[in-house]
């Protein structure tokens, strides 16, 4: 349920609004008046602000302010801010949160160069960010203070003066130290700060192309690069990782030419790291290469980066290198040789599995030659701790490749399919190991759900390739084995259903589908037998998955005659209908959706001679669904019914077409009394579809190619439409929903009413209406109030007779109400969030003060 619009919105939403409404973020008079008191509170070490989020909001406000107003002016006009900084600096024992806040606030102001100078003159910056400041105090032990310091510096470094300041006061060395900070937040922020410092110093320096030589680079940048080099040469794995992470971010966010110079200076060292045994920072190196490979600076095929990537593909552990391989394969600009190598890396574990299960020469395998030493892959596969994770990774990467619009290299999809099938066979003990490795893999994989799930995912993805019958047969066999096995876990079963669906849909769409017809038909027969059993499963998850699968299957294949024949020769439709009474509401909901799809087919079948009682059956399904809509105690089945009805109306279900008005009227009546807002929203969607259909049918819809109707015809059609709407009591329903306590319902109702008003109350009708004496003035405001009261009361459940009486609408009255009610104004107010008053900066300042006040009161109470 979404919150009612009378309730408070959650904080996240509040903040979203806060950022969006920049117009509100000005230092108005009220705020200026409140600010000194707030600053005084913050500067008072005795008055702790209990809620840190106030400070965060406060900072956000200043950040927005400095973006729109002059920071210097802000400081000058509000001297209390400078005083606050000075005051906190003078405090003997400030709280860590206040100090951190001040560091960040100062950083925000110092981002403007003029403001920087202003603060520098008062020696505030050196006191905060220099060696004598918090750096040397005991509070530095607090991670929040260190984090505030880093963030403050980060905000400040927006101009050269700040860079000079950093270099001169020794702050750079502090940042280097903070890279290895025990707090991961601080370490990460320090790393990001270094990235910013490096890119900023070089971006602002590099005005001419000749300046790209590193010897000319600013001191700050040079210092940083020397630090990176030293770290890469060190024996400390953590330092190496920090520097690689830093470089990854630099190459990721900056695509200037100087990055190439930086790489040429460091590449040798990085290749050296790759050649070490064992490679320590494999994952970080992969990140670095991926980040660089995406940069246009390195896309040239002659670039030395590719040599390093080749080296990485050869040397890195197979468990680490998969990500690099798949990343490389996704690139547009990359030498073909590297791509081929990357694909080989991904295929190698699959090749090993295939060979472990087949006799030599039985299958050609996936690879002509191995890229890596296959012994490493075999060792990983024969070890319980690494086998499943390596296979899962590889399968996921290979699956990703299947969804690429254009795969840059030839994928040996048939052997790949074989290897996936083999893995699935291993997982349920069907594969016969052909080697010692096969024996080990078999023991590890039997019953391994993780690998089963990944393998089924890629099996489904491989369905889009055209495969020879023999392989389709093996796919069908393994899918049936999984679908049949009582040991298949519900999640694996769901994946099996998904893969099955993909194969059946692909085969039905393939040009060669007739070649596989016999095979597919037999498979379908077996499949429906399994499905029959699954629909009777004692586990509701299984029944639910089976129904979902059936729904999708029917949706995709209902046009195929062969599918319909097999389906209706099975017990599945009958069992599905039985499940409309399942004790589990999720299952009932899925059964409703499935019946919604099946009923299209039963209608087709009933048209044929020989199928008796089709019509009777069909009617009973509609009646059953309506009964569920009005009586089911759970929301899910009712929601499912309404969405089925929407589909039926949209797609012109034969039974709906027989008497659409009656159908819509009865559904709206049932929805009217429903307490579930999603059902109501569904009802509104149904009303929207219906009204669009009626207007369209009478040529009133806004279609650019429709013939323009004469005004007389249009007027007739309008009154016909209006008549129909009144018959189905559409306006009662819409006005009832407009008064609903759930905002999304009211909003949607309002939208529909506005759209209807636009169609029905155009200028001509307005004129006609006025001339006919149909104005509010003529009928009086009391009439309007009474009508609306009567309509909205129809939204509440009431005896049938009363509802009829209350809902007796006259079309002219409807038009008048539509014209009179300020729907647009209502729409605006509904779109406003409930806390639009409380989210102003002024309110924030008042809140800070109020919290402190409360604290004081509480303290007084305590004594």
């Amino acid at each position: 349920m979404l919150p009612c619009y009378g309730d408070a919105l959650p904080l996240s939403l509040f903040l979203t609004f806060f950022y969006q409404k920049k117009t509100r973020c000005i230092m108005d008079r009220e705020c200026s008046q409140l600010l000194p008191s707030v600053c005084a509170v913050l500067a008072d070490s005795r008055q702790l602000v209990a809620d840190d989020t106030f400070l965060e909001k406060f900072l956000d406000w200043f950040k927005t302010l400095t973006e729109t107003e002059s920071s210097l002016l802000l400081l000058q006009e509000n001297p209390c801010l400078t005083e606050l900084i000075t005051c906190v600096l003078k405090l003997k024992d400030p709280s860590s949160s206040t100090l951190s806040f001040i560091l960040r606030l100062t950083g925000i102001f110092a981002a403007s160069e003029s403001c920087f100078q202003y603060l520098q003159q008062r020696e505030l910056l050196i006191s905060l960010f220099g060696e004598v400041g918090p750096l040397s105090s005991a509070l530095w032990e607090e991670a929040s203070v260190r984090s505030g310091w880093v963030q403050g510096v980060h905000s400040m470094v927006q101009h050269q003066s700040a860079l000079h300041f950093l270099c001169s006061c020794g702050a750079i060395d502090v940042i280097f130290t903070l890279q290895g900070d025990p707090s991961l937040f601080v370490a990460s922020a320090a790393n990001q700060l270094l990235v910013h410092v490096l890119t900023f110093s070089l971006q602002s320096f590099q005005t001419k192309p000749e300046n790209i030589k590193d010897c000319d680079w600013p001191i700050c940048a040079q210092k940083l690069i020397v630090h990176i080099e030293e770290s890469l040469k060190s024996n400390s794995a953590s330092r190496i990782k920090q520097s690689l992470k830093l470089l990854t971010s630099v190459f990721g966010c900056c695509h200037d030419l100087w990055t190439e110079v930086l790489w040429s200076r460091l590449s040798e060292r990085i290749v050296y790291l790759l050649e070490e045994e064992p490679v320590h920072a494999g994952h970080s190196l992969v990140d670095l290469f991926l980040s660089m490979a995406r940069s246009p600076v390195f896309s040239c095929p002659e670039c030395s980066l590719w040599t390093s990537v080749t080296c990485a593909l050869e040397h890195l552990n197979p468990a680490q290198v998969g990500r690099l391989a798949v990343g490389v394969l996704k690139l547009q600009e990359c030498p073909q040789a590297v791509k081929i190598q990357a694909l080989s890396v991904l295929l190698q574990p699959m090749d090993c599995v295939l060979k472990a299960a087949s006799q030599p020469l039985e299958y050609p395998g996936l690879l002509n030659r191995s890229v890596n030493d296959s012994a490493t892959v075999e060792t990983l596969l024969s070890c319980r701790s690494s086998c499943a994770s390596l296979l899962c990774q590889t399968l996921t990467h290979l699956e990703e490749l299947q969804y690429l619009t254009c795969l840059p290299v030839d994928l040996p999809h048939i052997p790949l399919l074989q290897s996936v099938v083999t893995i699935l066979q291993f997982c349920i003990g069907l594969a016969t190991p052909a080697s010692c490795l096969g024996n080990k893999i078999s023991r590890i994989l039997i019953g391994c759900f993780r690998v089963q799930r990944s393998a089924l995912d890629i099996l489904g993805a491989l369905s889009h390739w055209e495969s020879p019958s023999v392989f389709i047969g093996s796919v069908f066999d393994i899918l049936l084995a999984y679908l049949k096995s009582p040991d298949t876990s519900p999640t694996v079963l769901k994946k099996s259903f998904q893969a099955t669906l993909k194969w059946l849909v692909s085969l039905s769409e393939a040009p060669s589908s007739k070649d596989h017809w016999q095979q597919t038909e037999q498979f379908l027969r077996d499949l429906f037998l399994v499905l029959q059993k699954r629909l009777c499963s004692p586990y509701w998850e299984v029944r639910d998955s089976a129904l979902e699968f059936l729904t999708l299957l029917v949706k995709h294949l209902r046009e195929k005659e062969w599918f319909r024949q097999v389906l209706f020769s099975s017990e599945v439709p009958k069992l599905t209908e039985d499940l409309l009474e399942d004790p589990e509401s999720y299952v009932r909901a899925s059964a409703v959706t499935a019946m919604g799809q099946l009923s299209f087919l039963t209608h087709l079948i009933s048209k044929k001679p020989g199928v008796e009682n089709g019509n009777v059956k069909e009617k009973s399904i509609v009646a059953q669904l309506k009964e569920i809509l009005s009586t089911d105690s759970e929301g899910f089945p009712r929601r499912a019914v309404i969405s089925v009805f929407i589909d039926w109306l949209r797609e012109g279900h034969p039974d709906v077409l027989k008497d659409t008005e009656q159908f819509v009227s009865s559904v709206l009546q049932a929805v009217n009394s429903d307490l579930d807002w999603e059902v109501k929203a569904g009802g509104l969607e149904l009303a929207e579809v219906f009204s669009a259909q009626i207007l369209g049918r009478l040529g009133l819809a806004a279609c650019p190619y429709a013939a323009v109707l004469s005004s007389a015809t249009r007027s007739t059609h309008l009154s016909e439409s209006l008549q129909i709407f009144c018959q189905v009591k559409l306006f009662e329903f819409l006005f009832g929903a407009l008064c609903d306590c759930d905002r999304p319902v009211a909003q949607k109702a309002c939208d529909i009413l506005i759209a209807l008003k636009a169609e029905l109350c155009d200028e001509s009708s307005l004129k006609e209406g006025t001339s006919a004496g149909l104005s509010t003035e003529a009928r009086g405001i009391a009439w309007l109030e009474e009508t609306l009261r009567r309509w909205s009361s129809c939204a509440k459940p009431c005896p049938r007779g009363d509802a009829d009486e209350a809902g007796s609408q006259d079309p002219n009255g409807v038009l008048l109400v539509l014209r009179t009610v300020d729907l647009e104004g209502l729409h605006r107010s509904l779109n406003r969030s409930s806390d639009h008053i409380e989210k102003s900066p002024q309110s924030l300042l008042q809140d800070i003060l109020a919290t402190v006040g409360t604290l004081e009161e509480n303290e007084a109470d305590c004594y």
């Binding site: 003990g429 699954r534 004692p538 039985d578």
Partner: protein, 658 residues
């Protein structure tokens, strides 16, 4: 220590363990798969079975056509079904001291052993095992005795004739030893020899070993056994389960530190997970009933049926089967359902807590109360009046050779709407169905075997760490039909020792210690001397008294006091003459100090030589040699007793005496 293996069936074991001076039979399983070679015993005249053609040899010889009948290409013996007994020739079974029973399925051969072999010992089993075992035997006897068969076939058992028969009759083992079913008096007599025991109860066997039953988690009252002496421990694990079904959970901790662990009764269907099979069972049942068909579940009257009824209790409403009647037909149906509710102390924790509410531990009580489950002793009588279709019938025997199930197979076999669902794993369902072919009814195989699988065994062995594992040979290799599944065998270090029927194993450990008790008065007289911190020694002179495999050190008889009044001495009262005891010596002689002492006592030319075993001290002048070794000292001097005594005293100074 030896193990005599009398049964080749891994889940119906019968082994004899000779341990110390005791002979212990471990379980007494009856292999009933032999009955699959016989024609079913119909409750009412079956025209189909009576019209089956006699089997004719290839050469046209018809001498066996009265004994053997042919049905759909299979040959069956037309006679009263017979059972394959445990091996009786491997050792004299009258020497068996005790029989330990682990669960009610493993005692079905008991009357054959106790009534026909001269057995005079005691049988130990828990109360539920005995009670439910009695029900199973009663049912078996009833099933066979109520369909008397005039004909008894024996010609086919002749070795020469058997050779000519088609498989599987041709390959049946030891058909000459196959026996007809026992009678109720024999059952009663056998059961009267049972002594009831409780879990963790310690039972002394002749003072030599102690046996203790432990909960095995497989069935009501099922046990594993610990057989231990003071220094040796043998664990017998048979039919155990780690799943949470109705019985009390398995006690694993007590199996730790075993010298030998005999492992039998693992799951017969290692590839089928019981949970999945229960799901299959329910799905197939619902599908059949929804289509208007009947479901037949051939089963034993106790065990898995309790769990199935519990699952159905939860399932029938959700599957819309509330109006479908469930029938349980067995001569012991009522007793079985009632017994299950009264063995609260033998149930799992959840069911035990229900008893205190108080509620019946099994929900089948409610099914009976609401008339959803009805039970009858047989198809005759009330059942025929109440019978409504479609329905679900639970009845025996799972072999489909006798019992009410035969009737339902004949009745429902012709319709494809009906389904027979096999849940008991003891019989091959295809073989069980063979005499009913051609069969239209659907057959579903959902074997539910909750006993340990190989993954669980591997964890168990890691946990309890026995020194040696002994198991049937079937467990040391993958199943013949799935030879690639190396995960379906016991994998332990050192590799498990395997046995097969009629084999005698010498168990791989030797007894090295025996516990001896010291009488309190003797213990009082001991004066321990601490020779190292924490180690004290005392000399003991006593008489070792051994009786009932217990050894006791008693004080030596005191020297007889000269009688004060009687002058005549009775020779028989004479105590052996006790010589004064020499003190025992211990310690080592520090050579430097010893040499110094010698020199102090005037031996000037002392030379010390090191030898492999110790030292030789040479006193050249006195022409004397002192040979000092770890456990002996020799003084060799030329008949100079004074010198020898002097030197001896010097040596003794360095040694401790006690």
């Amino acid at each position: 220590m030896k193990l005599y293996c009398l049964s080749g069936h891994p889940t119906l074991p019968c082994n004899v363990l000779k341990f110390k001076s005791t002979t212990i039979m471990l379980d007494c399983g009856l292999d009933m798969t032999s009955t699959l070679n016989f024609l079913p015993l119909p409750l009412v005249q079956s025209p189909r079975l009576s019209k089956l053609p006699g089997w004719v040899l290839k050469d046209g010889n018809t001498f066996l056509d009265k004994e053997l009948k042919e049905c759909s290409g299979h040959v069956f013996v037309d006679s009263v079904p017979e059972f394959c007994l445990p091996e009786t020739e491997l050792l004299d079974l009258s020497t068996v001291d005790v029989i330990l029973i682990s669960n009610y399925h493993c005692m079905m051969a008991l009357p054959y052993i106790t009534e026909y072999t001269g057995f005079t010992g005691t049988v130990y089993a828990t109360e539920p095992t005995v009670q439910i075992g009695r029900l199973l035997m009663e049912e078996l006897v009833n099933f066979i005795e109520r369909v008397p068969k005039a004909q008894s076939a024996s010609l086919w058992k002749n070795k020469e004739v058997q050779r000519l028969l088609p498989a599987p009759l041709k390959d049946a083992v030891e058909v000459s030893t196959w026996r007809r079913c026992y009678t109720m008096p024999e059952v009663n007599s056998a059961l009267s020899k049972i002594q009831l025991v409780g879990y963790s109860q310690k039972i002394e066997l002749f003072g030599a070993v102690q046996v203790t039953p432990l909960s095995s988690g497989y069935a009501l009252g099922s046990s594993n056994w610990i057989i231990q002496s003071h220094y040796e421990k043998v664990s017998y694990v048979s039919g155990s389960s780690l799943l949470t079904t109705h019985p009390q959970a398995m006690d694993q901790a007590s199996l730790k530190n075993s010298d030998v662990l005999i492992l039998t009764g693992l799951t017969q269907i290692p590839t089928a997970n019981p949970d999945g099979m229960v799901g299959e069972f329910c799905s197939n049942l619902a599908m059949t009933v929804r289509n208007g068909g009947n479901v037949l579940v051939p089963c034993y009257p106790s065990g898995v049926i309790y769990d199935l009824l519990e699952c159905l209790y939860q399932y029938i409403d959700s599957a819309g089967l509330s109006n479908v009647p469930f029938y349980f037909i067995s001569p012991v149906a009522n007793s079985s359902l009632e017994f299950s509710q009264i063995f609260a102390e033998w149930l799992c924790h959840n069911k035990q807590t229900k008893v205190y509410l108080p509620e019946p531990p099994f929900p089948h009580a409610e099914l009976i109360q609401t008339n959803k489950l009805k039970h009858y002793p047989s198809i005759h009588g009330d059942f025929s009046n109440d019978f409504k279709q479609p329905c679900v019938v639970f009845t025996g025997h799972p072999s489909l050779r006798f019992g009410d199930v035969v009737h339902f197979m004949e009745l429902w076999g012709k319709s494809s709407l009906n389904t027979v669902i096999f849940t008991e794993p003891d019989f091959s369902y295809l073989e069980a169905l063979a005499p009913y072919q051609p069969l239209a009814m659907k057959c579903v195989y959902c074997p539910i075997d909750t006993r340990l699988n190989f993954i669980q065994v591997s964890k168990l062995l890691k946990e309890v760490q026995p020194l040696h594992v002994v198991c049937p040979e079937q467990y040391t290799q993958p199943p013949p039909t799935q030879s690639h599944r190396t995960d379906l065998m016991i994998d332990c270090q050192p590799p498990a020792m395997s046995y097969r029927r009629a084999e005698v194993l010498t168990l791989p450990f030797k007894r090295r210690y025996e516990k001896i008790e010291i009488m309190p008065e003797l213990a009082d007289s001991l004066v321990p001397l601490e020779i190292k911190p924490g180690i004290s020694l005392a000399t003991v002179s006593a008489v070792l008294h051994t009786k009932d495999n217990k050894h006791v050190l008693q004080p030596p008889p005191k020297p007889a006091q000269p009688p004060a009044s009687k002058k005549r001495k009775r020779v028989s009262d004479d105590a052996p003459e006790c010589k004064p005891l020499k003190p025992l010596l211990s310690g080592s002689i520090p050579m430097d100090q010893f040499v110094q002492t010698l020199e102090k006592h005037g031996f000037s030319d002392v030379k010390v030589e090191d030898t492999a075993k110790g030292h030789i001290v040479l006193l050249q002048e006195a022409e004397t040699l002192i040979q000092i070794e770890e456990d002996s000292t020799h003084i060799i001097c030329d008949n100079d007793e004074t010198l020898r005594v002097k030197l001896r005293d010097l040596v003794l100074k360095f040694l401790q005496k006690f």
